[in-house]
């Protein structure tokens, strides 16, 4: 997989598109969920409806943006030995803020998401972006990286939430789409369904990633 990513990453790009690359890579090629299988707990736990998935995605996007920008702007001051502790403190601060913001906006939603809002602290995506990217790059690049990864994560959550809610409850955003004769697939809302749908999405991702490679080898022949 990593070979493939580097090959795609080094594909010739127009000169002015250089800046947007940091943004685009997180959307699909290095999508945190499908390509890196990071941050799986919220991905599976809150995607039994589209609304929860969207809220979780946006909350994570916010924390990712803020922490990446702060880590990147403080990267000259944070001592190497205690850097992970510093990153976690920065992340935890923003997570606490998000937790209270969601509680203020929509108490029902806050209940539905449960402990998973606080658990954004230990979402590996955020820590891995802080460690692997923001600590080594400029603020504007880190911002783009965070935006790409955050939107890619939200996109993945919506993919899962959409299918699970559509098949499991016959609705989207709580609006019923199918006639009442539709028998709900209860399994899709159950934890097992989450694993199945994510597994199938990863399969689709792999399949799409492999196709261009096959066509290229055929052309070489």
């Amino acid at each position: 997989m990593s070979k493939e990513i580097t090959r795609h990453g080094s594909a010739p790009a127009p000169a002015d598109a250089q800046d947007t690359n940091e943004f685009i890579k997180g959307l699909w090629l290095q999508n945190p969920v499908f390509a890196q299988t990071l941050g799986m707990c919220p991905t599976l736990a809150v995607t039994n409806s589209v609304q929860n998935a969207l809220a979780m995605g946006l909350a994570t996007l916010f924390v990712l943006l803020m922490s990446n920008v702060l880590v990147s702007s403080l990267r000259a001051f944070i001592p190497r030995q205690v850097r992970i502790a510093c990153y976690i403190l920065i992340i935890a601060t923003f997570v606490t803020a998000v937790d209270y913001i969601i509680q203020a906006i929509d108490l029902q939603l806050h209940k539905a998401l449960g402990a998973f809002v606080s658990l954004i602290v230990v979402n590996c995506i955020i820590l891995s972006r802080a460690e692997a990217f923001a600590s080594k790059n400029t603020v504007s690049k880190s911002f783009q990286d965070a935006a790409g990864m955050g939107i890619g994560f939200t996109f993945a959550l919506l993919c899962l939430g959409g299918i699970r809610e559509l098949l499991g409850s016959g609705s989207l955003f709580g609006v019923r789409l199918f006639a009442s004769s539709y028998e709900n697939w209860i399994v899709m809302i159950l934890p097992g369904g989450g694993f199945f749908v994510l597994g199938l999405w990863v399969l689709v991702f792999n399949w799409i990633q492999r196709r261009p490679a096959k066509q290229e080898t055929k052309r070489h022949d």
């Binding site: 299988t37 502790a85 606080s118 590996c124 199945f196 792999n206």
Partner: protein, 191 residues
């Protein structure tokens, strides 16, 4: 006594942390390729999870609540967990070099295992007492260990099998986990 047994039963089987509550999936997927490493991870997590569950309860009850600073809960808990992990590492390093060689590489990873923070937060949410928190933490980690080791054994068999190219890696592992999760739903009648 009966109450503690029920908590234990419910966290290990009925509300299994990994398969039903979706906590601690990163190590579940990450270190389940070999049975030996899975067993090491399970052992290290059991120890840290039980200890940090009790410690975070104490910190919450005797520091955060009297001082009325519960909004610092997330930050404090993650610090408590990091400290417990660090102390465990130092302790094991000094007392048993053999154990350190087995568990050493897993210990730092546990800090970002969301089951550990999840247990600490759920203890507060369910208003557990000190003993209940301790049992809850222990049950959660036993459930985690059980599932991790079972899953690792299955993945070793899958490695030997003939899996289609696009299905290899996380995809087949996730579908396997889904089947396991369905099997664990069967315990839900026990409650």
């Amino acid at each position: 006594m009966k109450e503690y047994f029920l908590i234990l039963l419910s966290t290990v089987l009925v509300n299994n942390f990994v398969l039903v509550q979706f906590l601690g999936l990163c190590p579940f997927m990450g270190v389940s390729r070999k049975l030996e490493t899975a067993a090491g991870m399970a052992l290290a997590t059991t120890f840290v999870l039980t200890l940090s569950s009790a410690c975070s309860y104490l910190v919450n009850a005797y520091i955060l609540e009297p001082l009325d600073i519960v909004y610092l809960r997330t930050i404090t808990f993650i610090l408590v967990i990091a400290v417990v992990v660090q102390l465990t590492e130092m302790f094991v390093h000094k007392t048993s070099p053999i154990l350190y060689r087995v568990l050493g590489i897993f210990l730092p990873l546990i800090t970002t295992n969301c089951a550990v923070l999840g247990v600490a937060l759920l203890n507060i949410r369910h208003d557990h007492s000190f003993m209940q928190s301790l049992i809850y933490g222990f049950g959660a980690s036993v459930g985690f260990s059980l599932v991790l080791i079972l899953f690792a054994a299955m993945r070793e068999r899958i490695m030997a099998g003939d899996v289609p190219e696009t299905f290899k890696g996380p995809a087949i592992a996730l579908v396997t986990a889904g089947l396991m999760s369905l099997a664990f739903m069967g315990f839900s009648g026990l409650d």
